[in-house]
């Protein structure tokens, strides 16, 4: 397989984890190095970053105690 294609595949595999910040330092550095000279790869990371922003913004507005009273009622009722 051609090296450019192999690197492209590796980049696409790592991109989501680069954006969510869970890559190892080695992989993180590899992605940053790969992206440096490839505008289309940078655009790919930007796309993932925007998607992450949308998904986080889409978080449901629910109070953390929702359902808690029901749970407490259930455990008090059960033997």
């Amino acid at each position: 397989m051609n090296e450019a294609l192999t690197m492209r595949r590796r980049f696409l595999e790592l991109a989501p984890w680069h954006v969510n910040g869970t890559l190892s330092a080695v992989d993180q550095a590899w992605v940053e190095d790969y992206v440096r000279s490839r505008p289309e790869a940078h655009a790919e990371l930007t796309w993932y970053a925007l998607l992450q922003e949308k998904i986080r913004a889409d978080a449901p507005p629910v109070p953390p105690e929702a359902g808690l009273e029901r749970l407490l009622h259930r455990i008090r009722k059960s033997p």
Partner: protein, 224 residues
């Protein structure tokens, strides 16, 4: 940054090298919000729960209920059912606190239970999830009224609409990666599948989302 147009067009946007800066938050949701207690604290709470301490349950509930709720809602799309999954999941923890052995993060373990609960719920009812292909077919068909129906919905809702049309396995993958900020191994642990399966699901989700968003935008532009 942050419009639908940005999301659709980002991959094709020409960037000069001088404009290239690192992308990625590099921060994880729980680290950012400081919501998740460490395993040591969790073990202490679980120990108290095993002795019937409701205050410990309350603390654990407040720390994790949003996370379970968001995960369940992404899959079920029903607020009442999602809340029921939270209650069922935490009830399971209350009944068997000793089952958490600290082999993973507590939240990973917890979402694994929540996933089991919601799959049980889904299996108990009629299949009703549409696949993304159906949305694409509607858009492609050009049926009278098909665009109007979609165009009536607000643009800012488009990403959620397209995500909702993804197969559930791909949708929960995206949620765990970008909402929870989980690492690959953690996503695989919650979903109970190999890491390569997670990678494949993400790859297909990315392609389908891009296609659907592009189609939606093209339709809007044609009809404007």
């Amino acid at each position: 940054m942050g419009t639908l147009l940005d999301l659709v067009q980002a991959p094709d946007t020409p960037f000069g090298p001088e404009n290239i800066e690192p992308v990625g938050s590099g921060e994880r949701l729980k680290e950012r919000t400081g919501q998740e207690p460490g395993n040591e604290r969790v073990f202490a709470l679980l120990q108290r729960m095993s002795q019937g301490d409701e205050a410990a349950l309350r603390e654990l509930y407040l720390a994790y209920s949003r996370s379970i709720y968001a995960f369940a809602l992404r899959r079920l799309r029903d607020a009442a059912e999602a809340e029921e999954i939270v209650v069922d999941t935490m009830h399971e923890v209350w009944r068997h606190p000793q089952r958490f052995r600290g082999e993973s993060k507590f939240s990973t373990w917890l979402l694994g239970i929540a996933r089991f609960k919601l799959l049980t719920l889904i299996r108990s009812r009629e299949p009703q999830h549409e696949e993304l292909g159906e949305l694409e077919e509607v858009l492609e068909s050009g049926e009278q009224g098909s665009f109007e129906v979609l165009a009536q919905k607000q643009r800012r809702e488009a990403v959620r609409q397209c995500m909702d049309k993804l197969p559930p396995e791909q949708r929960e993958c995206l949620h765990l990666v970008f909402y929870e900020g989980y690492a690959l191994a953690e996503v695989a642990a919650v979903l109970g599948c190999p890491e390569n399966t997670v990678k494949t699901r993400l790859f297909h989700a990315r392609r389908k989302l891009k296609n659907a968003l592009r189609l939606m935008l093209q339709r809007e532009n044609v009809n404007e």
